[in-house]
Symmetry: C2
Subunit: 365 residues, 2 copies
Amino acid sequence: MTADTVARLALSAAFEPGRESIGQAVAEFGAVAVVDDLDAGRGSAVGLATLQDRWLSADWLAGARTERDQCADRGIRISVPGQGSWPTQLDDLGDRAPLALRIMGSVDLRTAAARSVAMVGARSATQYGQWVAEDMSAHLAVLGWSVISGGAFGIDAACHHGALSVGGVSIAVSAGGVDRAIPASHSSLFDRLYRAGVVVGEVPIGSHPNRHRFLIRNRVIAALSPAVVVVEAATRSGALSTAREALSMGRVVAAVPGPVTSSMSAGCHALIRDTDAVLVTSADEVIRLVMPVGQKRNRPEDLELTFGQSRLLDSVGASPRELGVLAGSLSAVEQEVAADAFLLERWGLIKRVSTGWVLDRTPRV
Amino acid sequence: MTADTVARLALSAAFEPGRESIGQAVAEFGAVAVVDDLDAGRGSAVGLATLQDRWLSADWLAGARTERDQCADRGIRISVPGQGSWPTQLDDLGDRAPLALRIMGSVDLRTAAARSVAMVGARSATQYGQWVAEDMSAHLAVLGWSVISGGAFGIDAACHHGALSVGGVSIAVSAGGVDRAIPASHSSLFDRLYRAGVVVGEVPIGSHPNRHRFLIRNRVIAALSPAVVVVEAATRSGALSTAREALSMGRVVAAVPGPVTSSMSAGCHALIRDTDAVLVTSADEVIRLVMPVGQKRNRPEDLELTFGQSRLLDSVGASPRELGVLAGSLSAVEQEVAADAFLLERWGLIKRVSTGWVLDRTPRV
């Protein structure tokens, strides 16, 4: 653990995330020099005169060392720019990039985020929106893509659940400390995320979120993934701020349409109508947007699926469906569907349970 | 009634509509010369050798004179290119333009079509689609736009009903004779169209439609209006052929989104995703697409509505809603809504009935 890391932990504890003046100072002078100047009351030397009083109000370096030790004790990783664990796509945020990340969970953030889709939406989502979020996330996960969201009620939770329910990977970007469930009632969701995914944050462990932190957190969701999908959003939804961040960084932005009679789809429709956001109706369409042309896109192992296999995979969801029902919905012969299901199962994309077939991404031995 | 008109009626009776070879011959030599050559067995002289036998199989000129007289007796107008009644936008179809139109109803086709929106969609529409089609058409009609559709089951019927129900104008482009309801069970809808709108066709009165005529008719719907809106369409719907025709003529094409779980919205989503079609959720958005920039667009009399009045007008529909309900849905003070309703009523856009407020475009004395 270098002095740079401790200095970054201290700065990210002392000040609210996303301040460009701090990012600028750290980029120009280095975190250690910035901390030294602030300690010596020379904040103005690094362009941080207005933050001088706040810095001197507590011993932030001691706090940072304590946080560092606690993280080590509890298996929480810390990542800063320059380390191999740092997701370099966050550098697209420029001076607004996080100073340091706290990472809690069982998967490697950088690897998982490299092949990910961020999916966000309204807290007060409709049944329709939650169904689409869960189904799309489950399909993305089965095809080897991790799903990034914000851990909140509604669409966020449906996205995490969808990916986790099929044995996939999900990433929550928290607006508070990574060691607490936010909201508190999502403690079992966060437990699942720690076990099968990862929770990442830019404020010290134990921290409460606040309104500013929720908003500023959205830029991290947008920067981590090559694509942001908005599932449901009212016209003034926070999910739209994530979409705007992503658009401004040149990320792919997509939105799921819904009934024009639903106010929860109005934000998605506005995105499609008024911005470069693309209309998407399935996980497959999302992947097509982010996959470089020419690259095989069907699954992690670069397996080409036939048209029939691809349609079958689209029809299998997180809840079991019987073979006859699947064949009916595909207007296909049951025997052919059975053959495709057998292959998809062998490839570890779906599995048979007592009441039918479900998506599955549990690693095979 | 000129010889040109009779010749065009005869050609449009003898041959199926939309044949480019006939359009070409008529454009080059004139309808009378083409008929003369066919009569003399010299079809090859006008590039119509393959149609010679069909022409000589009946006395099409005599039939045309009979149709002309019957139309005159029954108040059915005939319009051909060059006449003041001809909608010149049909010339955008080039050699595929109708040879002659039969027009039955109480309004002037050319005037009504000049300020119109074509709205089409699936026969097997959902309740959602029919509701949107009816509501959007009612709002278009109240704002002074006539609604063009195909008279069919589902979305088409909902469009006609929506416009007519508020006292607006609707135009049906028929695939058969204009004097018959197609489908036959739509006789009361066609009666309403004759009384308050117009039915237009390009085949002789009394004619049955056939599969070819339904498909080829779509180009006339696309050409008549500056914009085509697809409300619901499966991925292989005929409504998409209308949209493609419109796109190829440079018309504005728009599509209404719906749940991604509805196969009846899949065609609309594909249009938005894969073509220049624009996502629309309201009549207002449709009008904004076709109204030249800078032109006031709120109503025929070019009245500027306030934001509140505009929102109120959006909330009033073809079915009555009480003032309190309207105020609630707008999160507005009831007294302010009442004031706006009073003005909208005075301007002839909505009216009070026993159970609330409804859209209205019945002309005021």
